[in-house]
């Protein structure tokens, strides 16, 4: 991975936090880094962090693009529930894996298209536009499953959640693949620059010739797709679609991952890899809390405390008082991109 122009210190809070949380887990639980093979699949707490972090990491990939356009997508959790419900119900009805995958990914694309049209064409504020699907989507998923947990036994679909490729769990493989494809799309083309431009100033980027409605619809569609993939993984993992709980509140974790990753909610610069790192920080904390033996009442407090520290390290006001290497600039400030690749890290 190469780091972008402003120097490695820009990414320091994120990587530092991830390493610190992992080390803290290791101190609490000495076998944290122990990895062995179990039924041809890597097995260990560190693998759990990657595996369990995959759904939020996937959501964060899509969410990063949306947030870079100064938007937000609150519906991703509900879209997960819909895609999972479609997958499990169709599998139960005897459809083959290709049809199931196509249908549930199409459901995600459709949800994204709906959000995109509301935001780009009808110009409804993203938080409100996506709130509609956040509320309605879970209802749609419940209609699909008829209010039940639809279980299935198909090993083909279960493979997406529980299988492995070269000993690496499938959710991790899928996340890396989607991250690579997304990074290629936005960094190898001008798309990333256009997304940042729309996020900084929609009007002037339109004036400069960017087809802003198309860019906006594209990011919401991509976000819907990422959510559908995450929904498939979660459903395949428990071999059942739980429309009430699949992806519940995960939109918040995804937004948090993006923000922890250093992408500003005010749009513009974004870092895809850093958002995934943000998701891993959150999951490493979750796994650490489970391993530590703390009482469950402390879960949220510990999580909030660590997040506060990570976000404080990024605070523009606070970083002014911290010694920092030359060339680094404080995080979270909104500045128009100075160069096409000024935003974030490149994979």
């Amino acid at each position: 991975m190469t780091l972008s122009a402003p120097g490695p210190s820009r990414n320091l809070p994120q990587y530092g936090a991830l390493i610190a949380v992992l080390l803290a887990n290791w101190l609490l639980f000495p076998d944290f880094f122990a990895i062995r093979l179990q039924d041809g699949r890597l097995f260990g707490s560190l693998i759990d962090v990657l595996n369990r972090g995959a759904p939020v990491a996937l959501l964060a990939i899509g969410m990063t693009m949306v947030i870079a356009t100064r938007g937000v997508d609150l519906s991703v959790g509900a879209v997960m529930a819909i895609s999972g419900a479609v997958a499990a119900t169709m599998t139960g009805a005897g459809w083959g894996l290709p049809a199931v995958l196509a249908a549930s990914l199409a459901a995600g694309l459709l949800c994204g298209l709906w959000n995109g049209l509301l935001v780009a064409v009808l110009r409804i504020q993203p938080i409100i536009a996506t709130l509609i699907l956040m509320v309605a989507g879970r209802g749609i998923a419940q209609l699909v499953t008829e209010g039940q947990i639809v279980t299935f036994t198909s090993p083909a679909l279960a493979f997406i959640g529980g299988g492995s490729f070269l000993t690496v769990p499938m959710p991790v493989v899928i996340t890396i693949a989607l991250l690579a494809v997304t990074a290629l799309l936005v960094r190898a083309t001008a798309l990333g620059l256009m997304i940042e431009a729309v996020g900084v100033n929609r009007l002037s980027s339109a004036g400069a010739g960017v087809n802003t409605p198309v860019v906006l619809v594209a990011v919401y569609v991509w976000c819907g797709l990422c959510a559908a993939v995450a929904g498939l993984i979660v459903t395949a993992d428990i071999r059942g679609a739980d429309a009430n709980n699949a992806g519940l509140w995960l939109e918040l974790d995804a937004i948090l991952a993006v923000v922890v990753g250093g992408t500003s909610l005010l749009g513009g610069r974004f870092g895809l890899v850093l958002s995934v790192v943000g998701a891993l920080i959150i999951q490493a904390m979750n796994t650490g809390i489970l391993l530590s033996g703390f009482k469950p009442e402390f879960n949220l407090i510990v999580k909030a405390g660590v997040l506060l520290v990570v976000l404080l390290l990024q605070s523009p006001t606070l970083t002014l008082f911290l010694p920092r290497p030359k060339g680094a600039r404080p995080m979270g400030t909104v500045k128009p991109p100075v160069a096409p690749t000024s935003g974030g890290a490149k994979p």
Binding site: Q38, I149, G240, D242, A246, T287, L291
Partner: protein
Amino acid sequence: MSRKWVISAATAAAALFIGLGAVQAADAKKLVVGFSQIGSESGWRAAETKTAKTEAEKRGIDLKISDAQQKQENQIKAVRSFVAQGVDAIFIAPVVATGWDSVLKEAKEAKIPVMLLDRQIETKDQSLYMTAVTSDTVHEGRVAGEWLAKKTGGKCAVVELQGTVGSSPAINRKKGFDEVVAKNPGMKIIRTQSGDFTRAKGKEVMESFIKAENGGKDICAVYAHNDDMAVGAIQAIKEAGLKPGKDILVVSIDGVPDIFKAMSEGEANATVELTPNMAGPAFDALIAYKKDGKMPPKWIQTESKLFTPDTAKEEYERRKDAY
């Protein structure tokens, strides 16, 4: 007073009288019960509604169900509309414990008995409802614990998957189980965490427990506050290369079809049923009350029955359509 007015008034009165007579005649034949249901947030809840319908049919009762979609305001509206319709009794599965007093007073003034299903309410005036049909969630935990103590001879290192932190079934099911653990010095809860009553979280928490306890070798049993978390835990145990039901015993509460399926496959060991038939006992109490004015007890406790793999296959067949 004009003659016309008198005639029309008389006609109206006659019509009203005949109408009332008709209603009363219908009453004698068929009881009408309004049921304000919370919603259909879980498989169990859907089963409760379904069972209420079949139990009403069995007894020839006309059951009107109103789905509140998890909102108390909808339940209050439903109760008011039942009062306006003049039903014979109102069943409520209250979504929250407080805020019922004023609407229940309206029902009381209309002399319509109110029965609570599945959950209790908090009120100073106990006369606002006739009876509550609920299970004893502390007892459920106790039954699960006693089974495990008996099965393992009172020696077992247990990991516990709690329900949502702060929810009353989670608190009570823990309490009942803890009572049994306290009585058996050989029993110990070595890890306890919240799995939020869901499969996904149950699986994730169990994965960590297994790693934290020497690859699962130090765990004798997992006690889950509901079956869904147990189903998730079973998958985690399998993926760790252990045998659920043998290497690690699995005991949980609720009695949903999927746990019976797991039991019939030898992957779970026991479940304590939370019966979805809350309406049946309420109907019986209502019929007895209407017949000879017999007041039911304030609390009708449903049975917390333990099921083991012996009967799992038949139970699964019996249940899979009810849920």
